[in-house]
Symmetry: C2
Subunit: 249 residues, 2 copies
């Protein structure tokens, strides 16, 4: 069993209702507000145990910002890459993360990708943070709304995708092309975002079909990876929406 915490994340999990929730515990000492009331109702509807407990029960979870409520839930189900690729895709987008170490960044990226209609997220099973309770909370429950694919070999996965008509785009601070100079509207693409300091690994850079950067207007450090992803992925959304509009006219 995993645990999830935070009112929004628990509400999301109950509403989507794709994972088994064993029970929800809530501290007797917290104020029962509208959100907690809603969680209680959803729990009852789904037949989930909802238990008021002494606040001491939360001592072992003190490093989490749990707001006095925790749910015990089955782990998220990862999708298999082959299964995903066997589906029909048309101008689809996938985001692959390469060496992201921070749970806040992963959670934030999952949330942004979900909003931007990204079709799946690929994370390596090693050298990358996994979906834990912090990721789940920061994603505001988005982990339940987007397929997440775990792969042992990122380069192997990309090779397989290239062989089935996907294009690999690597985001890299020193790339020559600006991210908005690529036309994203007429291909299936997988966008690879690297770790904040190391960037996208050399082996992936070498096999990538496009290398893009975000031009920075002040000579300062670099963007946070989740904010960089947001700028790029919404440019792909912009291009698709503007093209749809032109086609309709």
């Amino acid at each position: 069993m995993d645990i999830i915490y935070g009112k929004n994340a628990i509400t999301e999990a109950l509403e989507v209702n794709t994972r088994k929730i064993n029970k929800i515990i809530i501290s007797k000492s917290i104020h029962v507000d509208g959100k907690i009331q809603k969680i209680k109702e959803l729990a009852q509807r789904n037949g989930v145990i909802f238990q008021f407990v002494a606040k001491e029960k939360f001592t072992q979870y003190n490093e989490l910002n749990h707001q006095g409520i925790i749910a015990f839930i089955s782990p998220i189900e990862y999708m298999d890459l082959d299964e995903f690729l066997s589906q029909k895709h048309n101008n689809a987008s996938v985001v692959m993360l390469d060496g992201i170490e921070d749970s806040y960044n992963l959670g934030s990226i999952i949330r942004t990708c979900t909003c931007a209609g990204v079709d799946a997220i690929i994370i390596p099973s090693r050298r990358n943070v996994q979906v834990d309770s912090i990721v789940e909370k920061v994603s505001a429950g988005a982990v339940n709304h987007i397929p997440i694919i775990k792969v042992n070999s990122p380069t192997g996965a990309l090779k397989k995708m290239q062989d089935t008509n996907w294009w690999v785009i690597a985001a890299e601070a020193n790339a020559k092309d600006n991210y908005y100079d690529v036309d994203y509207t007429d291909m299936n693409f997988v966008l690879v975002m690297g770790a904040e300091h190391a960037g996208v690994s050399q082996s992936i850079m070498k096999m990538s079909d496009f290398q893009i950067k975000i031009p920075l207007l002040r000579n300062f450090n670099s963007l946070n990876v989740s904010n960089a992803l947001s700028a790029i992925i919404f440019e792909t959304v912009r291009q698709k929406m503007c093209k749809d509009l032109k086609t309709k006219r």
Copy 2:
């Protein structure tokens, strides 16, 4: 005195060297790596006391992810709005935050704005998180690279800006126009981002010249405010860079 922590934030503060640093303490029990060595050298060059102390000295700062190093530093200096407006501005951009409660979001927004060449950030002195040590750390020291203006009355500040040829743009999930339909290349604008749940306040919505939204492709919750800001602000950068290119041809 404020405190700042984290190797990157302290290095940044020493390099920029605009604020007085009283002393830097470092735990005797941590490994002195290249980054710490660099901090030590910068401290010596700037005449800042650099002290190894027992790790117990850090007990009171345990809620911070301090990595065993803390600097005591004069608070950041806010810029005065009138002073900022008295400068010459040409196609300038300002970001105003309206009710942001989370230090991670504020720090992340300051970092993104700095990279995107935003000319200043305005935060209300009430009902908004202030620049604290978490903000400074998450911004990776960007707080030292961009003017931050504190105002008592956000609407008063916006009125004053409108009177001096600035346009007010409010980002709001339910707005009619998409953010990429506005031409940002030929005006001074102030972009107002609201709190995650409440959005931009009604009084600001009413006086705004443009209301924009980010179209979301999945019916899910909403974007995190710092990721929303990133998508919008880099669209303004894209427009400006593409226009420059056309002009040059």
